[in-house]
């Protein structure tokens, strides 16, 4: 089965619900090595995303991603706003005009997201940022394509997220801490993991995968 706009909308609703639930946790993570607003920023952003995407009906998945990205850019601020925003906008450009897409196509779109995050954030893998979830997870999706095992993807995403604990931050606020950042999860990696986990839930629920 193919992924349609409605699935993406459901995904965003689930992200919104999950982020809201984990707001305090995300903020706590950010208090440890940042400035303690990541939960606040993300809930503000996805609340607005939901409002926006409920106003329109979308035939074009690309347009939907684009709108999500624009809302995130203009409502979140901080580091996560432009990064998540760029990720969705870039993915939207790839998916422009498509009413439905395969998991493969989604993987290609995410590859553009990853490129966008890297360019905007001047970051690379191992810098202890959201990229440490986005890049490997995207690669994983692309490698497995339509034969993707969703439960395995969830574990994989979580592993990547957990892995940020060991890293020394090179980018973002946590970088100011140098070695003192080691031992803490990166808040953006955790919210990114939420994003991919909720995507997986939708794919499972809606029987959008082979499995």
């Amino acid at each position: 089965m193919l992924i349609q706009s409605d699935h993406i909308i459901k995904w965003m609703e689930l992200v919104n619900a999950q982020i809201d639930k984990q707001k305090e946790y995300l903020t706590q993570l950010d208090q440890a090595i940042g400035d303690g607003d990541h939960g606040i920023n993300m809930t503000r952003g996805f609340k607005e995303v939901i409002q926006k995407i409920h106003q329109t009906t979308y035939d074009d998945i690309g347009k939907l991603f684009q709108d999500v990205g624009m809302v995130l850019v203009s409502k979140v601020g901080g580091a996560s706003g432009p990064l998540y925003g760029t990720a969705f906008i870039k993915a939207g450009q790839v998916l422009k005009g498509k009413p439905e897409i395969t998991i493969n196509e989604l993987g290609q779109a995410f590859q553009e997201s990853v490129n966008g995050i890297k360019l905007r954030g001047k970051s690379q893998i191992g810098d202890k940022t959201m990229l440490d979830v986005w890049e490997p997870v995207t690669k994983y999706i692309q490698q497995n394509g339509n034969t993707l095992n969703i439960r395995e993807l969830i574990s994989y995403a979580r592993e990547q997220m957990e892995h940020t604990k060991e890293l020394e931050a090179k980018k973002g606020r946590a970088s100011f801490l140098g070695k003192r950042s080691i031992g803490h999860l990166d808040p953006g990696a955790v919210s990114s993991c939420i994003l991919f986990e909720t995507l997986c839930s939708i794919l499972l629920e809606e029987n959008l995968t082979k499995e």
Binding site: I33, D35, G36, N41, V73, G78, G81, K170, S175
Partner: protein, 334 residues
Amino acid sequence: MIFLKKLINNPEQVVRDMIDGMVLAHPDKLKNLPGTNVMIRAHAPVQGKVALVSGGGSGHEPSHAGYVGVGMLDAAVAGEVFTSPTPDQILEAIKAVDTGNGVLLIIKNYSGDLMNFEMAAELAEAEGIQVAKVVVNDDVAVENSTYTTGRRGIAGTVFVHKIAGALAEKGASLEEVEQVANKVIQHVRSMGVAFTPCTVPAAGKPSFEIGETEMEIGIGIHGEPGTHRTAMASADEIADILLSRILDDMKLSPGDQVAVMINGLGGTPLMELYILNKKVSQILKNKDISVYNTYVGEYMTAIEMAGCSITLLKLDDQLIELLEAPADTIAWKN
């Protein structure tokens, strides 16, 4: 309903309420661009002048709107508390103050600020506006490196506003204004210390925990952890700790002239800042560094955090002239 011990109505509305209260208090100096968190000079745009736009998260008051006015900024963009403003807001600010002479963006070195201001600059350039950017990174608590985000921008930013603003006011070109801003950035260094955390209204609890007799050396202006924690010390010892880090980094020579800023982070009273300044003055005198001017007060705060930062700016004739040039803003008047 239980309220924080803060003068607020709704934690989600603090920035809106603050901006409204600010414009109501200073209608002669500021106006708010409708529908935005942008504040511009009451008489903006000023024709024939390069425009200066700065901003960042809220919670650093009087930064940044306190420096909007003749001789300093043309616009300030306020983000949510401790959160960089978004590109669309920054773009509105740029468009509101540009008069065809170009706009200088003064950015503090944080990933968030950089990215949002960069996106705004790209959008403005796409609309044909000439934009230059400078990035302030005066905080010596953080090691500088091209592989990392590098040093943070803190109170030294205010000197950039003042000096670049003065040159712009004289009718200099965008390139010249950018140049002098970068010169200030090259010559300004700061370091801070915190005794208590601060509370972001929407978070509702203190940004960190710290023992009854501890202080955090090298604190950031968002309650980000500093270089290390140590036992609370005397004002003289604190002056020593902060200043020696700054001086190590600056490598001043005897006979050099500096401007000094003793900046309160929000919860530390003026009395204590002056006590600190006594020792700072003495240390500099002993090193034969001459203090041209001292600024003591709250310039770049971290909500209600108790603590302070020390900033040194190495001066030359040009910087002195621009530092002394007229300025008429809420928080800086010459």
